[in-house]
Symmetry: C2
Subunit: 172 residues, 2 copies
């Protein structure tokens, strides 16, 4: 699929078939995620692939019972790695790691759409329970959950701000 088509036609998918997603496919998604640029090429991001039913159920619970997290056959939990970014100080901790994960997640969403899969970016969840259930060390923080599966819905595009509103020339 063409880049611009994928960017324009990607949607947030929250309804999935039970069909599994092959291991190689998920590995390719993560590899493509990490092709995104990162501050100093430090790649201060980590990916935990969850297929276990009970873990997906607990993830759904930690995310306010968004049950499509349990229904998706696989979830990718995206984490920042504060040790890897440490040399950049506060700017690394408070900005770069989120940019680096945000860009990586966008690659996953585009590549999943390109492969005929559906995915959605979940940012609203309680980090504490997720850290505990995944046994994350202190310097690893979960920042997004991406359920991935074969879509059973084709949502319409959500309205975007007008270009004349979102783009300014030379100054504010």
């Amino acid at each position: 699929m063409e880049v611009k088509t994928a960017i324009r036609e990607r949607r947030s998918i929250r309804a999935f078939k039970a069909d599994p997603v092959a291991e190689e496919v998920v590995e390719e998604l993560v590899q493509l995620a990490n092709m995104a640029p990162s501050a100093g090429n430090l790649q201060a991001r980590e990916f935990i692939v969850i297929r276990d039913d009970r873990t997906r159920e607990s993830l759904a619970a930690a995310a306010g019972n968004q049950m499509f997290i349990r229904e998706a056959p696989v979830c990718i939990v995206v984490c920042v790695n504060y040790e890897r970014i440490a040399n950049y100080g506060a700017r690394g901790r408070e900005l770069y790691v989120f940019h680096d994960t945000g860009a990586a997640i966008q690659n996953v969403l585009l590549a999943a759409h390109d492969m005929g899969l559906g995915a959605v970016w979940v940012g609203a969840f309680n980090e504490g329970p997720v850290k505990r259930m995944l046994r994350l060390p202190k310097h690893i923080r979960p920042v997004a959950i991406i359920p991935v599966g074969h879509p059973v819905e084709q949502p319409k595009m959500r309205v975007r701000r007008d270009p004349s509103d979102i783009l300014r020339k030379e100054s504010w």
Copy 2:
């Protein structure tokens, strides 16, 4: 260009021809940027397009004299909008806005590469001077500068972490 090809072959370009980049092209890049998902579809991001020589020179100065910022015919300054994200509280201010801009920036880099253009994500700069020179209001914060132009270099891929290092299954 195919999505996966663009993701794999995109490079950070820091050397540009003097040739201009058409206005419609930059507008399309910004529109594609804003096709990235955002928390609550609030699109709490803003884009300032800079072509003025003196402003690009000042941007370069604010970014530790990275002179490719001046050499690129156009720069897109990407900002977060704290007013638009206000309903999400601390999580919105400290996480979502950066994810939303990170995903948008990745779209710009991929689409630019698809169009035969080069671009690079600059995150290291002094925000104060940039805010002043662009007359940004208090709730608008510049978080990235993207110089865009016709590339005169083809850098090699920078080494990525091994998949066995960056991907874990079921837990840490």
